[in-house]
């Protein structure tokens, strides 16, 4: 347990640890209770290729995550992954803003590690509900050049929404790219700002999933088509990371 609702879990999987890209996820079978059929998608938070260790960070929201949070060291867990299309980091990038909100911060750790390895100058903008919900700050500070924290209640860092700080920062300096992950309302603002300030932006989406591998078409998100219409893409296979200008974030998309 790392905050009152957030848990960290580490498990061994060489395949995942060696092959994971930032933004990819694992699909976890909830152990024990056979009335819960579906796997749970959880972002890969970090990997240690030498040891084969994979880290995830998750919030307890329902039955599945509650059972996961009660697992003990040594238990075996059934995990598929790494799945999905993660963040794309091109060689040309020199500077990046990484924007995360709440439990959407999880996948950003591995992203920042990779950005750092590539010498990208990273500003991390992280929003939390309150001081109690904050986790992993030291690590983010190690992995980035600057960390700006906001809390809804002002109990740590700036009071307010992370997107307010983002807008202020964009007014100062435009990064080569933005990466975002968090609740839908946050993503909507990020999407708008990316457009206004013409900064390319990748965002990681969430949707309820079945197979997690692209076969069942339940995890759709609306993506603009050249003809001005849209089509449904699969969050699990075509995403979870999409370019902000292509996705349509409407009410139907559920947040974390």
């Amino acid at each position: 347990m790392i905050t009152s609702h957030m848990y960290k879990m580490a498990f061994l999987s060489e395949g995942i640890a060696l092959n994971a890209n930032p933004g990819q996820f694992v699909h976890i079978k909830v152990p024990g209770d056979n009335s819960l059929l579906l796997r749970r998608p959880i972002s890969i938070c970090d990997v240690h290729p030498q040891t084969g260790m994979v880290e995830i960070v998750y919030q307890v929201v329902g039955k599945g995550t509650r059972i996961l949070s009660g697992m003990n060291a040594g238990q075996v867990i059934d995990v598929l992954g790494p799945l999905g299309k993660g963040f794309t980091i091109s060689r040309e990038i020199k500077s990046a803003f990484v924007v995360g909100g709440g439990c959407g911060i999880a996948p950003l750790k591995l992203l920042m590690r990779r950005l750092k390895e590539m010498g990208v100058v990273v500003t991390a903008l992280l929003g939390f509900r309150s001081r109690e919900a904050v986790y992993g700050l030291e690590e983010f500070e190690m992995l980035s050049d600057r960390v700006l924290v906001t809390t809804d209640d002002g109990s740590l860092g700036r009071k307010g929404l992370v997107t307010q700080v983002l807008e202020e920062e964009l007014q100062q300096l435009l990064p080569d790219i933005m990466f975002a992950c968090g609740p839908t309302p946050m993503l909507k603002v990020v999407q708008r700002l990316a457009k206004e300030y013409s900064v390319p932006c990748q965002m990681s989406l969430e949707e309820r999933m079945g197979c997690g591998i692209g076969g069942c078409l339940v995890c759709s998100c609306a993506v603009r088509t050249p003809d001005g219409g849209f089509e449904y893409k699969r969050v699990c296979k075509d995403g979870p990371v999409f370019w902000s200008q292509e996705v349509m974030l409407d009410e139907a998309t559920i947040g974390c």
Partner: protein
């Protein structure tokens, strides 16, 4: 001795009775990364329509006790795209291919059957039971007369044997099945999903954007078994039984009830290797119970 697993449906032999059910296995490609598709009895491809179809808005899936609800709404790239781009990939594998077709009108079904005449697939599966489309869809599957008409019309246009996939959301599945047989249908797939609904008590909203969806998975297995059993008593055309199969023993139960082969749907969403695991478990059951030929099980329920 290795038991015999092969079964025959309308003169087409299947290496084993396990078929990936429509809509849960894409066009096979995504699963090829995880399993050898050559080991499957057959693959029923994602439901196709004459023109491409967007499907319903998300969320399209909800979890219910031992079941799931889906409201995909037949998202698919259209039959022409399938024939041109997806089928060639599938044809690389040695397995039976069942093309699940869906129309808003009887004429649409017939036109799709025409388009498939010279295409090397093994079966057509008329889905007259999808609960997730407004027009046609489930309505077709609930009246024996309509079922008779559609089956007869499509038979007149189809080259391949025609399976008719029935909805469980009817008062009397037997009269529907009899209509299929009378109209010359070659086989019956059942069951499609049961109409259901999930509500999020905290948000006070339906979980699915479409409000209602189709229930599948182990929760509906007793309903499916009952319908397969009922239908097997009144028709003599083969039945592909499905609904909640997740293990080899489940397959045995459907065969005993009268199915010649089975479809595995939701289980593919839980594990990409489900179909193959199930084939292996079926073989294991047969070895343990001294059954040399899977055909011995078909309709073998002792009542």
């Amino acid at each position: 001795m290795k038991p015999r697993l092969d079964v025959e449906i309308c003169g087409v032999s299947f290496k084993n009775p396990v078929i990936a059910a429509s809509g849960t296995f894409g066009f096979g490609r995504e699963y090829a990364e995880y399993v050898d598709l050559n080991m499957l009895g057959g693959i029923a491809v994602k439901g196709l329509t004459l023109l491409p179809k967007k499907g319903n808005p998300p969320p399209r899936i909800a979890e219910t006790p031992s079941g799931i609800l889906n409201s995909v709404g037949l998202q698919n790239p259209g039959i022409d795209y399938f024939i041109e781009h997806e089928l060639p990939e599938l044809l690389k594998y040695d397995t039976r291919i069942i093309v699940n077709i869906n129309g808003n009108t009887i004429d649409e079904y017939c036109r799709m059957a025409e388009k498939l005449r010279d295409v090397p697939v093994h079966f057509l599966e008329l889905n007259i039971s999808c609960p997730n489309v407004k027009q046609g869809g489930v309505a077709f599957g609930t009246h024996p007369d309509v079922v008779y008409d559609i089956t007869r019309s499509v038979k007149a246009h189809a080259k391949q044997p025609v399976l008719v996939k029935l909805t469980p959301n009817v008062t009397d599945i037997k009269e529907i099945a009899i209509a299929v047989e009378k109209a010359g249908g070659d086989g019956i797939s059942l069951i499609n999903t049961v109409l259901g609904m999930a509500i999020d008590a905290k948000k006070r909203r339906p979980v699915l954007a479409n409000i209602v969806g189709g229930l599948s998975g182990p929760a509906i297995k007793p309903i499916a078994l009952r319908m397969v059993w009922e239908v097997a008593q009144v028709v003599s055309i083969p039945i592909i039984g499905m609904g909640g199969i997740t293990t080899g023993e489940d397959v045995v139960e459907f065969l005993l009830a009268g199915a010649t082969a089975v479809g595995v749907g939701t289980a593919n969403l839980i594990s990409p290797t489900a179909c193959i695991d199930i084939v292996n478990q079926l073989e294991e059951y047969m070895v343990q119970n001294g059954i040399g030929d899977v055909n011995e099980l078909i309709g073998g329920l002792r009542v």
